[in-house]
Symmetry: C2
């Protein structure tokens, strides 16, 4: 039965939002709604216009017989900035300060709405890159990797510091932890990454950059390719950072254990 | 400027899908689109009808001055069954068999589309329960917890087997690992769960049920309340399982290491 335009628009929007970066053909929609391709094409023009006006992302049109539309989620710069400013405030709360000058983040990184925003912001940065996998290290990086992977619609892989029987054969490397200068080990399941994959590294927090550097070595070990590194928060680091090229959403600038104050500012994501 | 119905429907759908279980007032939409409440009300009737027909979930209407609408994601039983049948096939692939009879799952649990479906299926089971938090254990449970939490729109908390400096003070308990009968330790950051919280436990795999039992003890320790336990896959267990009341999406029925065969069937989710 032919479906009305209003209902088509609602269901189409839902269908596209749930499948970012996926090409959906006009024929698929025409069959789904028992409607003419010309009507579907008009619908998609309205969806495209609305997404653009509301800054929901882009609806890309791929012409030709094998063509269709593809939804590319994107966050508006102002919305990203607003969110990061709010996060700066939240991270500056005195009761987040932990012994050793660490900052408690687990509540924020367990909130679905916050993770959605982080995912959208990081995915927006790599819209025009081809990415095959998002990589992170267990455990705190996982929610961020999953959020980004959901908007880029590519799988994520989890590097571990401990061996697990459920991972099968692994490739392991040694790396120097940037802050403590100890040599540690990390490993990744052999079957989780194909040779030549283009990999985006994400993590929750970067201090010396040792962990990220370890992941870079793993990527080389897998003969894969690094596309970029983005962390939720970095802290200003007095020593030589091991990673030069990275993006941070937030920067923990100063932690005063005596006064119990944390000073957090937006990261280099917003520097042009 | 007044926004056209077609554009309102598209943006409204997107807005609601991104905020499951959240009450949105008619006034909010009326202001957002500079439209009369009566028009918004008509829009929402169309959205409600379309969601229902397409089995996208329910748009609940809350009447009165403080009222509005709330989107409750739900998966149709048939779609859930279709997905689980497909997962049964994927899990039965011979090359997933690991030494010790373990089954490799990490690729599936790193796929955004698969996680979305798992999240929707588990969330659908607890639609009518009030839930404050989803709990899981690091690392492999995290993606499932995050997917469920995203559809229930509540935070998730991660229990750990190792102490981390970035978690602050923790509460720890000892538990008996069901399959190996060893005593192990797990802990949860003290500030991550409020007293009286209603908690849903999820995990990737359950054998003897020792880990889930450990999480139950932790919930008691926090004076919180257990709402339910759902795992992605269970394996038939010859001994006495420590957990009687749980739901599984899949059941790994038989693993033959010599023949390299895995037999997987749908779990008790589908038993009425």
């Amino acid at each position: 039965m032919k479906v009305k335009r209003s209902e088509r628009l609602i269901d189409m929007t839902r269908y596209l939002l749930e499948r970012p970066h996926t090409l959906v053909s006009l024929t698929y929609f025409a069959n789904r709604y028992d409607s003419a391709k010309s009507s579907i094409s008009e619908d998609l023009t309205i969806v495209k216009k609305t997404f653009k006006e509301r800054k929901t992302g882009t609806l890309e049109t791929v012409p030709g017989a094998a063509g269709g539309v593809r939804y590319i989620p994107e966050i508006a710069k102002e919305e990203a900035k607003e969110f990061v400013d709010e996060m700066c405030e939240r991270l500056s709360e005195a009761n987040r300060l932990l012994p050793g000058g660490y900052v408690y983040l687990s509540d924020l990184l367990g909130h679905p709405q916050i993770l959605r925003q982080i995912g959208k912001i990081i995915a927006s940065q790599y819209l025009h890159e081809s990415i095959d996998a998002v990589m992170t290290v267990a455990t705190k990086g996982v929610p961020i990797a999953q959020a980004v992977s959901s908007y880029l619609n590519v799988p994520f892989v989890i590097v571990r510091r401990d061996s697990k029987i459920t991972e099968g054969s692994t490739v392991s490397i040694n790396y120097v932890s940037g802050s403590s200068e100890r040599v540690e080990k990390m490993e990744l399941s052999k079957r989780s990454l194909k040779r030549g994959s283009r990999v985006l590294i994400v993590d929750d927090f970067m201090k010396g950059g040792g962990t990220v550097n370890g992941m870079k070595s793993l990527i080389e070990e897998f003969e894969a390719e690094l596309v970029g590194v983005t962390v939720f928060a970095e802290s200003t680091f007095s020593g030589d950072r091991m990673i030069a090229d990275y993006t941070s959403l937030l920067c923990v600038d100063e932690v005063d254990i005596r006064d119990k104050t944390i000073y957090v500012k937006p990261g280099n994501y917003f520097k042009d």
